[in-house]
């Protein structure tokens, strides 16, 4: 079965006075139907830029540079997202393609009631007010919220409740793909766990596909089926959650997994140094300034994302055939 969303060579950057600074570089990624795919990486590595580029919601100075994205729906229709005019895109949004932005606890308009904010888009998609209400209530139930919340204003709700309202809104039209950026970052651990469980439940119940973006390997471990590890605007490693957690190939993945707080609280060998910003991505392998296994070739040549068997991909010279055979 073809992937629900096929991303090829996607690059996006920031328009400067004279030139564009690339933030996300040549990302290739398939989002499979029905999966929860985690995109994980340190702060500033371009996760949100990637998500907004996928949603075609970049705002200047952010610019899309190149690439293609194909969305293939169940009914056989397929869409080239990057070529789609704004009006057609609006037809896809919410019905097939939902987005939960980073900081989404602030994503509700403080002066409109929840009801209005959940139903306005449903009504625009042609539902009657009653149908829209019914759908909104059903969606609220998916995240264990009472229908009476519809009468509230956002400031009357707690952070966790607002986050749930956003999720409910995003799934109210049963979209094929939900892109959720840092869904639980601002929440306490208990609420975070509950919300992730609800999200997994939604995937099972609605058969939705979820792209979840986070800097927290713990979130990935709890909810995702597969994970794409991002470093400095590129995919460093891609594979199943089990595979990558058991045997991370890329030195960066190894570092990330090493820096999850373990039981007992002590961190195991964190990553040294800081992630580079787009204005000074290193040449060659962008990770070479922090990599414990760096070889000469890393400084000169960027590694390509190559298959490493059973659904695993890694972008590191250590795993290239000729390097492997030399060793």
């Amino acid at each position: 079965m073809p992937a629900l969303l096929e991303i090829r060579g996607l690059s996006a950057g920031l328009q400067g006075r004279r030139s564009i600074t690339q933030v996300v570089s040549h990302v290739d990624l398939d989002v499979q139907r029905g999966e929860i795919l985690g995109v994980v990486g340190e702060s500033g590595c371009g996760k949100s830029t990637l998500a907004t580029a996928i949603m075609r919601l970049l705002v200047p100075p952010q610019v899309l540079q190149s690439g293609s994205m194909t969305l293939r729906l169940k009914d056989g229709k397929s869409y080239e997202l990057l070529d789609l005019p704004e009006a057609d895109l609006r037809q896809l949004r919410w019905r097939h393609l939902s987005y939960i932005p980073q900081g989404s606890m602030n994503s509700l308009n403080p002066v409109l009631r929840i009801e209005r904010q959940m139903t306005d888009i449903l009504i625009q998609h042609g539902l009657t007010r009653e149908e829209a209400l019914k759908r909104s209530i059903a969606a609220l139930e998916l995240v264990n919220l009472e229908p009476r919340l519809l009468d509230s204003y956002p400031h009357e709700l707690s952070g966790g409740m607002r986050q749930r309202v956003i999720i409910a809104a995003a799934v109210s039209m049963r979209p094929a793909l939900i892109v959720a950026d840092e869904l639980t970052t601002a929440l306490d651990v208990v609420t975070q766990r509950q919300i992730l469980q609800e999200l997994a439940g939604i995937r099972d119940e609605l058969g939705a596909t979820i792209l979840i973006i986070t800097h927290d390997m713990g979130v990935v471990a709890q909810i995702a089926d597969r994970v794409a590890v991002m470093y400095a605007g590129k995919v460093a490693e891609l594979g199943t959650v089990n595979g990558i957690f058991e045997s991370p190939l890329h030195p960066y993945s190894q570092g990330l997994i090493g820096s999850i707080p373990r039981e007992g609280g002590q961190r195991v060998e964190g990553l040294p140094g800081e992630a580079p910003s787009p204005w000074n991505y290193p040449a060659g392998c962008r990770f070479h300034s922090r990599c414990p296994h760096v070889i000469d070739r890393c400084r000169a040549e960027a590694p390509a994302l190559l298959p490493q068997g059973e659904g695993r991909w890694a972008a590191c010279h250590l795993y290239e055939p000729e390097v492997l055979s030399n060793a």
Binding site: L108, N144, M161, I166
Partner: protein
Amino acid sequence: MTAKIEARAGESAAEGRDAGRREVLQYALRRFGVYLFTLWAAITVAFFVFRLVPGDPMNILLGNLTRAEGRQRDKAAEEALIAHYREIFGMDDPLPLQYVNYLRKAVLGGLDLGPSFVEYPAQTKDLVFRRMPWTIGIFTTSVLLAWLVGTVLGALIGWLQRSRLSQLAVVISTLLQITPVYLVALGLIIYVGYTWRILPAGGPYARHLQPEWTWEFISSLLTHAILPMLSNMIVIGAGFTLGMRALMISVLGEDYLTFARAKGLSPFTVLKDYAFRNALIPQVTALAIIVGATLNGTFIIEVLFQLPGLGTLFVQAMGLRDFNTMQAVVLFSIFAVLTLTLIVDLALPLLDPRIRRTA
């Protein structure tokens, strides 16, 4: 278990709304208390400021009179006259007693602010009431129109912030906003009034007409009102435009706008329900603030266009040192501005649910 917790949270939200309603009432009452207090403070300050001006208004007044009539000064008669006047105006009482009497008359005596020094026995209240329709007519209409136009224009300029036309509009508005009102008024008088002779350049209505309910009179009134109102509107409107633009741009950066766009709402809905609606709240507050700051501009305009409003009354009274009249004009202006501000502030909770909580 989660469901239970959230259900209880839902109930508390409903309770919160009742509490919210109570809080709106409390807010309104508190706001009204502030209004009364401010009014009292303004009356008090105005009273003492005018009393503490050096020089006895009576002496100045009589000096003017006798010099104007070119008569020999008759010391005894003059002093008798001054004494008589001082008695009428209660100026021999100690200051605190004068103040109490003044307040008592103003509040209990139906806004009795005393007689005019110059046009005695005419009441300053009546002088003010006679002039007030002009000022209110010109001022209120032009400020409200300027606010409406500025708000809509500013919203559009902010929404289309990256277009060339918007950027040009910003430059023009900035230039207009920093131009003093009297320069705009003089410019309009000179070019539109005299050079091109498109519209009348001064006076309340054509000289040969009498106030009456005829079309000729009303149209003359309206055409004479255009330039004074335009002077006011250009400057104030430019300010409102820039203010609304800034508000729109800051709202456009809010997370809820990204979310509204992500939902796929039509641009018009996003503009109307998410951007404009939210930027409007501080813009209404701006109206209340600007109202006070632009009244003096209106006074200048009245003088330049020779309109018989409060501004001209004040300038005339100032020339004659008619302190009672000046004071009455100041008080009525303060009263008008405070009342408008009160109305705006009371309207805010209707627009902004958060005020119902936090105020």
